[in-house]
């Protein structure tokens, strides 16, 4: 099961067991939902942006496999404090990692997901929360 420990790295197992930023932050005023209809996985991401357009509160809800849960949890920790375009840049880096299997040059927790590239069917799981987050940035702020 060598491939599998590549896939289910301890970072992933940890985020899956103890997800960060789970739930809706009280200040959140933007929300978006992602679905993986083939899997039944779903994920809702909540945001609040500060006046400069930076995330000052983020949280998520939903259910899914370890990969999608851990990836969403990790995403929330990474996106906090970022602007929409910074988040998008980060997502592009993440996509690069999960499709190529090559971790970035700088050390990053995102590298834990490099093992996903060997499981193409799971790439959608790994990107589900990211898609929801980028979508949430685009939503109008609710009152």
């Amino acid at each position: 099961m060598s491939d599998l420990t590549d896939l289910y790295q301890s970072v992933i197992l940890d985020h899956n067991k103890r997800p960060r930023n789970r739930g809706r932050p009280p200040t959140a005023n933007r929300v978006a939902t992602g679905d993986n209809p083939s899997c039944g996985d779903n994920c809702t991401v909540y945001l609040h942006l500060d006046p400069a357009g930076r995330v000052d509160a983020i949280g998520f809800d939903g259910s899914g496999c370890a990969i999608s849960q851990a990836s969403t949890s990790l995403m929330t920790t990474q996106v906090k404090g970022k602007t929409a375009s910074e988040a998008e840049a980060l997502f592009n880096e993440f996509k690069q990692i999960v499709t190529s299997g090559h971790p970035p040059e700088e050390m990053s927790d995102l590298a834990a997901f490099a093992g996903v590239h060997a499981f193409p069917a799971r790439i959608k799981c790994a990107t589900l929360g990211w898609h929801a987050a980028l979508e949430a940035f685009k939503q109008p702020a609710s009152a």
């Binding site: 099961m1 491939d3 599998l4 899997c39 039944g40 996985d41 899914g64």
Partner: protein, 412 residues
């Protein structure tokens, strides 16, 4: 286990003799689709190498052979489910298309106030088309609820009594649940539906290749299934309909082959089965399906059923003993099919399936096209192991070992 089929059958299935990621393939995803015996593959090859031609409208040798082969396949399938008349067999792409054809045709005669009754355990393919029929006609859709929890699930037959009013015009239900393994008493349900004058539609996708089926004994009006789940090719399935009813239904599709006379103003239809088979049919795969009927009947569905059930019972018992695994389905001993559905306390079904795949084991994990039932049961997904005639006890052992390892991994 004396109920098991001879291990030699395994040799009939070329695909089984391969390694997956270095481990011998253990194919336990038969509920999704079955593998094909050499005899079925050979029937396709023979057709394309010898007889291929368009059917029905041809008078040359190949066309006559193709037509004979196609119509013989119809007769063969009629015998497979004990239909009274080959004209009651309509070839479709599969179960889903069959349900759609019936639902669309019946919707034309439904009106507000009428009720379409189905159950909470239906596959999306026997559920969404009825929702659409209700929407199109103004009829109301109602569901017979599931009862019990976890490993004690069943259909609420008391509720059925209340729900089966004279307003019910259609009662559509699955013979064997792909998610729970729950088997319904089709003949009894049809008798009760008939008593209120409802048309009955049975989704036999999971049962027809595994259990003996006699549509006349069951007394249903329609029964649908897919070839690919019963050792047949992909792209072919069957809609059985009682002759008297079929000829009163409007065709769902129109075009060449199903018309008597066409003018620039309009057209008239042939009777069944042609009425429901517009265009060039899937001749090769119909012939492949007939070969699958031959193959299964040579073994015998009572023997196949006993084999599947024996394996499922073994898996059920062994998995139920693993701490952290809950069986989802009817109690052991209840009428059920050869599959086991289960949930992990600490692992999602997709992770389980990915792990099992590394052990060469093909399982299915997810909502099994049964989202509303999952929601009702309060789970997001189950892992399913489903058995067929070529599976054996060693494969159950491998399954249980693999599940044990996953439990340890995610607990650790």
């Amino acid at each position: 286990m004396s109920a098991l089929l001879p291990a030699s059958l395994r040799a009939d299935f070329p695909i089984l003799h391969q390694d997956v990621g270095g481990k011998p393939l253990v194919y336990l995803d038969n509920g999704a689709t079955s593998q094909k015996p050499r005899a079925v593959i050979d029937a396709l090859v023979r057709y394309y190498e010898r007889d291929n031609s368009n059917v029905h409208r041809g008078l040359h040798a190949l066309s006559m052979r193709a037509t004979d082969g196609y119509e013989a396949a119809r007769t063969r399938v009629a015998r497979f489910i004990h239909a009274a008349d080959p004209a009651e067999i309509i070839f479709t792409r599969g179960t889903t298309e069959g349900v759609n054809v019936v639902a669309r045709s019946l919707a034309a005669r439904l009106k507000p106030g009428d009720v379409i009754l189905t159950t909470e355990i239906e596959h999306h393919s026997n559920l969404v088309p009825w929702q659409q029929a209700a929407k199109a006609s103004g009829a109301t859709i109602r569901y017979v609820p599931v009862l019990g929890t976890d490993a004690e699930l069943g259909l609420d037959l008391d509720a059925l009594d209340r729900l089966l009013t004279p307003q019910v015009k259609v009662f559509a239900f699955t013979h064997l649940s792909n998610t729970l393994g729950l088997m319904l008493d089709a003949a009894a349900l049809c008798a009760r539906a008939r008593a209120v004058g409802a048309v009955t539609v049975i989704d036999a996708a999971q049962s027809v290749g595994h259990e003996p089926i006699d549509v006349q004994a069951i007394g249903c009006d329609f029964l649908v299934f897919s070839g690919h789940k019963m050792c047949g090719p992909t792209g072919i399935g069957v809609l059985y309909g009682r002759r008297a009813l079929l000829d009163t239904l409007a065709p769902a599709e129109t075009g060449g082959g199903m018309v008597v006379s066409v003018t620039y103003e309009g057209a008239t239809w042939k009777p069944a089965p042609e009425r429901f088979e517009a265009g060039t049919p899937n001749v090769a795969d119909a012939i492949g399906l007939a070969a699958a009927c031959d193959y299964l009947d040579a073994i015998g569905r009572p023997a196949i059923s006993a084999h599947d059930h024996a394996l499922a019972a073994k898996a059920h018992a062994a998995l139920a003993e693993l701490p952290g695994i809950r069986i989802i389905g009817p109690r052991l001993g209840q009428p059920r099919g050869g599959l086991v559905s289960f949930a992990f306390a600490d692992a999602h079904a997709h992770d389980v399936v990915t792990f099992a795949d590394q052990d060469g084991i093909a399982l299915r994990g997810g909502h099994h096209c049964n989202q509303p039932l999952m929601r009702k049961l309060g789970i997001t997904s189950t892992t399913r192991a489903s058995f067929y005639l070529y599976n054996n006890e060693e494969e159950i052992d491998a399954l249980v070992r693999s599940m044990h390892r996953i439990l340890k991994f995610f607990a650790g």
